[in-house]
């Protein structure tokens, strides 16, 4: 069991890890290998550094926390839950922790599919474990083509009448035994409730439920699985970076704001210190 699992290894995640490791906590940093920092060609607005490339700063940040003893794993988080402890499932294994820091980075814009937003909660879902129950013996599809989509499909398959993988023009993954459709999607159909999908070639598919699991599980998907409050797709935190769930903290671009390295580092430091405080208080209590 880790004291803290941090999802995301950008400036917010590494800064949190730094304070936790120095406070003697056992830290796991999970990253899917990406960060918006990697896209910054030259960073010239961070204290003390005249100019540095984003990729260089990212590498140095990871190296720093590794030296301090953090375990860094390049794995994709596909599920998380809480039952006395946080349980995270990745594409490679499963981990538990006492606290969790969300440093999941910039919020991905949702797919601009007509009907998607309007049908949320009316057949469109972002969490198979939470909502699969309502689609027993019904026709469902999972939108996506990565490990996350396959995980969601595996949850739904025993419950639903049919489970189809929709890749919206991308390749159907090799490991999938499910019926798959790789055509581009034009729109979702239905007003009061989802009734089907219309593809760009004019064909359609009858559906009762659509589970969105595009790419890697992002802030939004992970928040919904755990029950974190979101506002305009950003995680809601107080000044101490506490989310609505005790023991869960968030920092960096996933909480909105300036989306700067400087703010991410500061928020990460606060989240790390607060997680440390939480762990110590709990240890005393026990």
């Amino acid at each position: 069991m880790f004291d803290t699992i941090i999802i995301g290894a950008g400036p917010a995640g590494c800064s949190a890890a730094l304070y936790l490791c120095r406070g003697n906590a056992k830290v796991l940093l999970l990253t899917h290998g990406g960060s918006s920092l990697l896209k910054a060609h030259a960073l010239e607005n961070y204290y003390g550094l005249t100019s540095i490339s984003g990729s260089n700063l990212y590498k140095q940040g990871l190296e720093q926390v590794r030296r301090l003893g953090a375990t860094v794993q390049e794995e994709e988080v596909i599920d998380l839950s809480y039952d006395d402890k946080f349980v995270l499932q990745t594409n490679a294994g499963s981990y538990t922790s006492k606290t969790l820091i969300m440093a999941t980075g910039s919020v991905r814009t949702t797919l601009p599919l007509p009907g998607l937003k309007e049908l949320e909660g009316k057949g469109v879902s972002y969490c198979a474990v939470c909502d699969g129950f309502f689609f027993r013996k019904k026709k469902v599809a999972v939108l996506g083509n990565g490990a996350f989509a396959l995980h969601e499909a595996a949850v739904l398959e025993p419950l639903a009448a049919t489970t189809t993988l929709l890749t919206d023009g991308k390749n159907i993954p090799a490991g999938s035994n499910l019926p798959g459709v790789d055509k581009k999607i034009a729109a979702l159909e239905g007003t009061m409730h989802l009734t089907g999908i219309k593809f760009a070639d004019g064909s359609r598919l009858d559906l009762d439920g659509l589970f969105v699991a595009l790419g890697t599980a992002d802030t939004n998907a992970l928040a919904r699985k755990l029950g974190l409050v979101l506002e305009n797709n950003y995680l809601t935190v107080d000044k101490e970076m506490h989310t609505n769930i005790p023991g869960v903290f968030a920092a960096g671009d996933c909480i909105g704001g300036l989306n700067q390295v400087a703010t991410a580092v500061g928020e990460g430091a606060i989240a790390g210190m607060e997680a440390l405080k939480f762990i110590r208080a709990r240890a005393q209590h026990i």
Binding site: K122, S125, C130, F134, M192, R224, L226, G227, N244
Partner: protein, 102 residues
């Protein structure tokens, strides 16, 4: 404290109630519902002019069907028997209090 409502009591406790009624559709197996639970109790302890109810969708599938609940937690505010506000997923206390003002 919130009031557990069933298919047998929904008409009387929610639809025929005077003033706004917040209904939290939940299930014991739903992790996010457990996160929302304490917030609902906090709201129930604070508000005086609204009734705060919970419906277990496992035990009351007809109610879940009638209100087309297919994602939980789901919150609905009823006034005069009609749904005046609804929200899907875990909400903050301030959002819930705002919903009750609608």
């Amino acid at each position: 404290m919130s009031l557990q409502v069933t298919e047998a009591t929904f008409q009387q406790e929610v639809l025929a109630a005077q003033g706004p009624v917040l209904v939290d559709f939940w299930a014991p197996w739903c992790g996010p519902c457990r996160m929302l639970g304490p917030v609902i109790e906090e709201v129930a302890g604070e508000v005086k002019d609204a009734k705060i109810c919970k419906v277990n969708v496992d035990e009351n599938p007809d109610l879940a069907g009638k209100y087309q609940i297919n994602a939980i937690p789901a919150l609905m505010v009823f006034k005069g028997g009609k749904v005046v506000a609804s929200a899907m997923g875990v909400q903050s206390k301030s959002t819930i209090l705002e919903m009750l003002k609608k």
